[in-house]
Structures are given as structure tokens and as C-alpha cells.
Symmetry: C2
Subunit: 415 residues, 2 copies
């Protein structure tokens, strides 16, 4: 894409009311636009990143056989009353609205209830189990405060998956598969080295749930990490009994602030029983389905990558989710530079390479470099009078201080 | 995909409360699930169709240079008060909700205001113009009645595009381009032959707007069509003066019921003036931007295809948006049939062919044929003892009465 055609502009200063680094950088670089606290629109560069994150998650969920669906935002109270989760006392983040005839509706903050109910129309036999469904869908949560940019939104994109098994053993098998899928997601997103599986409080059907926590100073959670074993424990369950049950040594556990980027949870029959999601076993007995749920905050993940990997010049996108792989900069007003840069741009496009071409006129080299660092595309290619004199283009990684001159042939090899 | 793994089941009867054919067929075939009147979840087959429709629209909008963004559902009243569209008297389909601190918010029913406001942060010079943005995003409209299935939803997916030009001439140029893009969309979706550009009432800045109307008995609109010229006029502006200004002959105009699947509209300065979206011209004067808007109801399109192209056995998907291209049916319990069907399935997958494999056990040929007709995949391939004896597989189009036996080689050629 030609940068001269992109309607967004970078800006030097963050909006005065923005205190979170992720929102500050993403706003200055033109990825997002604040609509109100905790509610951000995605501009073209931001949408490109979000779609790449979505696709990585989609691939990993498909790999473990999960089936994609898309539930709705508008929620019928009757379904939620059956599990006692309609009242504001039970779920304190409901947004509620009304039909013209005054019927109260909710905006989906999670989807256990409607998915469980929907499945009562499709599930009948043990032969239908196990299976799982997931969606990549917008959630609404009426957070009292929303000052963390896209780390804690009132409206945000989430991947939520739900599994349905005949018994706990079958559930545990899928639960373990989901852990691997989750690890793959965070690895592919470039934050695998900072993200740890973390024991957290469970529920009626399981002693623990598991969170995926990314170490980051702005995280809202506190975890204790045994780095050698790669296992962490959330502060909420960090006591001697838990440590001994997990075979962990308190003296090796180091305290960190962390962002919860994912969680997986054994639900058991918590929702299937009140909503009547049953199946017939081999002896034609009706049994309640054993469920699990598995969340990843997609907007939060994007914010976490920005918080964890940026530097004082701007964002540093991992290649897997960068809006483009290459940022091609044409410097100066020389016709020769313009010609060479345009021809390289066309060549890269013809090779199917994702390239963002800074072809803007009347802009200094310093301004173009600053914008490029702020936007954070992994590789920068500079075409200038000097680079051409030296035999080609200057190629530099966003994470490196200095670039090197490469010829067109060398560049194509690297690509 | 193996049908035995798909969690949805077809059903013989439609839900008792469903009176619209589109929702009836889509529910029976397992594409959608009703959450409440006008609010439908997408199940795996439905989501596949929806994503294909989205991608066709995305490609056509990208082709005319539009840039994709994604605005939010939650709406700040302040922005809408500036254009006098916050009150229920002005816009009678608002869903409204509240923050914890009692601040009232809206759920987006359209996005002229927030997009115009967002652009005030990015647009400054005539050199930035013209450009356009679009989104594929969920809209919420508090319809008093919602009995038409997915033809008129309270929550539905829409493509809305907005153009920004320095003057009316530049606007008209983009407006004409958008007409071609829209025609391409409907053509590619298989309803081009039923869809006509239709003159409808304009606004302050233009005598007419243009609708794209698909002829269909369940349509809510009435249009008068000159089939020879391929031009229609909406009943709302159908009078002698309009006909003469368009050079149309009343005696050739035939009345039809039709579904409005898209519309394009000249907005002029209606939103840019109150929201202060200006640019500096060559003489550094501040001028208001000249805008247009361009909508396509994506959920409605899916419903229109079902209404317009189904028969008494079920849905008939055009190849471009079918959930799969081929429906492979293994009939009977013979091990040889199972082996041959499985090996054909693997072969088709290895060729990158989209195939839905009915590998379900203990199900009669009649049941499998009925399901296949209901689901509406364009090509059916049957593997049975008989087909194998006759030298291969039976290939039949969904729209044809009889199939023919083809060998594996012949089949691969057709693919």
C-alpha cells in the first residue's frame, strides 16, 4: 500500500486523556481511534494487525478440531435467568437495553448460556460427543473504570471456545489439547517467551483453572513464577498448600506483574444442568454434558504486544502480525530515487510481498524515519541518492541500530 | 469437512414461530439459530457462507480503492447531538444503554457521525482527497416488528462505505465507480439477473439516491421496472415528472415486489458541516468535505439469495458463496463404498477442493439425499455399490434432476 493514499496520519503527541502506553502509541501511529474510555475503533493499520491475530488463533483452534460459529450480541434474559446470571448482582458488567415494547435485553459479555441453549437443539447422543465450538466476536462489559487503553475494553474482540464432552476424562483430554493450542498462539504472536501457564482458582468441578499470563509491568495481575519449570501461580491461590500440591519451591518463585492474555476453565455441569443440555449414553440414559471454556482477549493481546515489545521510538511488531512486512521509504525529491523506489515497490508487490511504501512528497528523511519507527514494521528498506550510489537499498530491521546496503538481487533472496 | 463431525443437525420441520422462508430453510439446514425475533446466530455452515459474501464485497470495495476500518458499536451521544440524530424522534431505531455512572450510550445503527468525527483528526488538505473508507460491521436497529427472518434484523451485518471528496464533480466520479462495484457484487453473488438499479428519493444535495433492488415476491419494496433498459423506479418517486426526467415510458414499466439489497446516497455536506470536517483548498481556505454513503445489508443478502434461488426441496447456493462446492455422499454400509468414498474425500482435499463429506453411518440414502437438497451445495457426488458397479461416482448438480456416472479421472477434470 502507498502511504500517500492511507487516510490516517501519524501524530507527535498522544491525546491528553490517554495514559496507557498501548493506546498512546497505537493512536499516535494511526492504528486505533478512541470513541470513549475503553472503546476504540480500528483504523486500516490496526485492522490489518487484528485480522492477523484472529487468523493465527483461528488456525490453532481449527487444528484441534473446533468449529467456528458466531453468536449474537443481543441477549434474551430468559436464558440467563436459568443460571442466575441475569441480575447485576450476579454479573456486574452487564450493559442492558430495551426493545420498543420495553422488554429488557442484555449485550453479550460472555456466551456460555446462549451456546448451551442453542446446542440443546442439535445434540442428542453420546455419538455426537466430544466436540467444541468457538467464535471470534465482540464482547461488551460495563467496566466502572477503563483507563488501560485496549488492555481492558468496554467493547472488545474475544475468542471464546466451549467444549462438550460425555465425561471428565474426555474433557481432560481436550483441555490438555487446548493448552498446546494456546501455547502455539502466544508463541506465534511473538510473546511466547514472556507468557506462562499460571495456576489460578478453579470452581465446583476443578481445583484449578489455568491462565496464560504475559509478564509486563503494567499488568493488573500478580503472579509467582518458577522460571526453570516454566510454571506460575496466581497470587489469588499462592499459599503453601497449593505450592506443595504442585511440587513447587517457594524460594524459587519470583513475583511479577502480568497481563492475563488467556484462560481455560473446567465448567463441568454448571451450565448444562440448569439449561438442560443432555445426551443419551449407550444405555439410553440422559446425562448432562461436561463442559469447559477457553478465552483469549484479542484486543488485549494486541495491546500486550505493544506494551511488551515497543521501545522509546515506537511499536515493534513481530513479523507474524505486523501490518506489513516491509516499510519502503523513498527519501528526497530526486526523480531517480522516485523511479527506483516505484520500480522496487512494483517488484515486491508482484512477488506477493506485503509492503508499505512511503511515497509521500515534501517530507524530510527525519520525519519518514520517525514515522517508520513509530509504526513499527519489522523491516525498513530505504531508497535514497546515497543508497543508490552505494549500490542499492539500505535494509534495516526495526530492532537493529544500523542497516546495510543490499543490491536488488540480495534483497529478493532475503525475502 | 466430515458431516459426522459437524455438530449441527438438519431438521424436517421449521420452528413453529418462523414464518419467513429464508429463516425456515436456513434453520432447518443448520445455518442459523434464532436468539429472538430478528436476532440470529451463525452456525458453522452459515458462517462459511457469510464469510464468502463478505470477501466478495471486500474485494470489490478494495478494487475501487476503499480502505477498510472497523468502528465500534457503543456510541457517544455528544457526536450525534451535533447532527440532531440522537433523539428517538429523529432516529426511531436506536437501542440505548447506560454506563455505570448513568451516562447514556447508543448502539450503532449507522456510522456517518463517528466516522466523520474520526476523520477530523486525520484530514487536513485537499491533497488528502478524494478517499473512501468502509467497514463490515454489526449494526443494531430497534425494529418494532421483525418477522422476515434475516431480511430485516435487529442485529445484522452490514457493509457501509463513506466517501470524502473536495467537490461534487469528484464525488460524482466515485459515485459512478461505486455503482459498478455494486453491480459486480450482486453478479458474483448469483442474483445479478434479478437485481436492478432503482431511482429513489434523494436529499438536500441530490435529486435521487440509488437502490439496488432484487425482484422477489417477499420484498417490502415496490418498484417499477423497464426491463429493456434495466432501470427501475421506486414507488416512492414514481410519477410522470420523474419518468419524463429519466426518459422512461410509463407503459413499459412493470410493477414488482423487491428486496433492497444495497443503496448509495449523496450526502453532500449534511454531516461534514455540523461535525466540522473541513479541508484546506489550494488557497488555504477551509471548505466542508462533500460526502457520500454506500450500504449493503450482508445478512439480508444471504436471506435474499435463499428466498430467490431455493426450490421446494431446499436451498440452492450459487457456487461463489456455497459453504462447500461439493457434497460427497457415501451410501450404504458396504466397506468397499466406505473405502472408495474416503479415498475420494482425501484426494479432493489434497487438491484443495472444498468438499463436505456425508460419512454418517446408519442413515438411509433417502435421508442423505434430502439433507443434501436442503443444504443446497452446488454439486453432489454419490458413492454407492451401484455407482461403483457402473464405473465410478454419480455427479449431479443441485439444479438438475438427473446425475451421470463419471470416473475418477473425469471428475478430476471437471474440478
Amino acid at each position: 500500500m502507498r502511504q500517500s493514499k492511507l487516510f490516517t496520519k501519524t501524530r507527535k503527541e498522544a491525546p491528553a486523556d490517554e495514559i496507557a502506553k498501548n493506546a498512546e502509541l497505537l493512536t499516535r501511529a494511526g492504528f486505533i481511534n478512541k470513541q470513549m474510555a475503553g472503546v476504540y475503533a480500528l483504523l486500516p493499520l490496526g485492522l490489518r494487525v487484528m485480522k492477523k491475530i484472529e487468523n493465527i488463533i483461528r488456525e490453532e483452534m481449527n487444528t484441534i478440531g473446533s468449529q467456528e460459529i458466531s453468536m449474537t450480541t443481543l441477549q434474551d434474559p430468559e436464558v440467563w435467568k436459568k443460571t442466575d446470571r441475569w441480575s447485576d448482582e450476579a454479573v456486574d458488567v452487564w450493559f442492558k437495553t430495551k426493545l420498543k415494547n420495553d422488554t429488557e435485553l442484555g449485550l453479550g459479555c460472555t456466551h456460555e448460556e446462549p451456546i448451551t441453549k442453542m446446542l440443546t437443539e442439535h445434540l442428542s447422543s453420546y455419538r455426537d460427543l466430544p466436540f467444541s465450538v468457538y467464535q471470534i466476536q465482540t464482547k461488551f462489559r460495563n467496566e466502572p473504570r477503563a483507563k488501560s487503553g485496549i488492555l481492558r475494553g468496554r467493547e472488545f474482540l474475544m475468542k471464546d471456545m466451549y467444549s462438550f464432552c460425555s465425561d471428565e476424562d474426555s474433557h481432560n483430554e481436550f483441555y490438555e489439547k487446548s493448552k498446546i493450542a494456546y501455547k502455539n498462539v502466544f508463541q506465534r504472536l511473538g510473546i511466547g517467551h514472556l507468557t506462562y501457564i499460571t495456576f489460578a482458582s478453579g470452581g465446583m468441578f476443578s481445583k484449578y483453572s489455568h491462565e496464560f499470563q504475559t509478564i509486563c509491568p503494567v499488568g493488573e495481575d500478580t503472579i509467582y513464577l518458577d522460571e526453570e519449570k516454566g510454571i506460575a501461580v496466581n497470587k489469588e491461590v499462592f499459599d503453601d498448600e497449593v505450592l506443595s500440591s504442585l511440587g513447587l519451591d517457594k524460594s524459587k518463585m519470583v513475583e511479577h506483574k502480568a497481563i492475563e492474555v488467556g484462560n481455560i476453565f473446567t465448567l463441568g455441569k454448571k451450565y448444562s444442568e440448569p439449561l438442560g443440555l443432555t445426551f443419551k449414553n449407550e444405555s439410553s440414559e440422559d446425562l448432562s454434558v461436561f463442559m469447559g471454556c477457553y478465552g483469549i482477549g484479542i484486543g488485549r493481546l494486541m495491546g500486550t504486544v505493544v506494551e511488551a515489545l515497543s521501545d522509546d521510538k515506537g511499536i515493534i511488531w513481530p513479523e507474524s502480525i505486523a501490518p506489513f512486512k516491509f516499510h519502503l521509504l523513498a527519501l528526497g525529491e530526486s526523480e531517480n530515487v522516485k523511479k527506483e523506489a516505484n520500480s522496487l515497490y512494483d517488484l515486491l508487490l508482484s512477488k506477493g510481498v506485503e509492503v508499505f511504501f512511503d511515497d509521500r512528497e515534501a517530507m524530510s528523511a527525519g520525519e519518514k524515519f520517525a514515522d517508520s519507527d513509530l509504526i513499527g514494521i519489522p523491516y525498513r528498506i530505504v531508497v535514497s541518492e546515497r543508497s543508490l550510489k552505494e549500490g542499492g537499498f539500505e535494509l534495516k530491521k526495526r530492532t537493529e541500530e544500523k542497516g546495510k546496503i543490499v543490491s536488488q538481487e540480495e534483497l529478493l533472496k532475503i525475502i
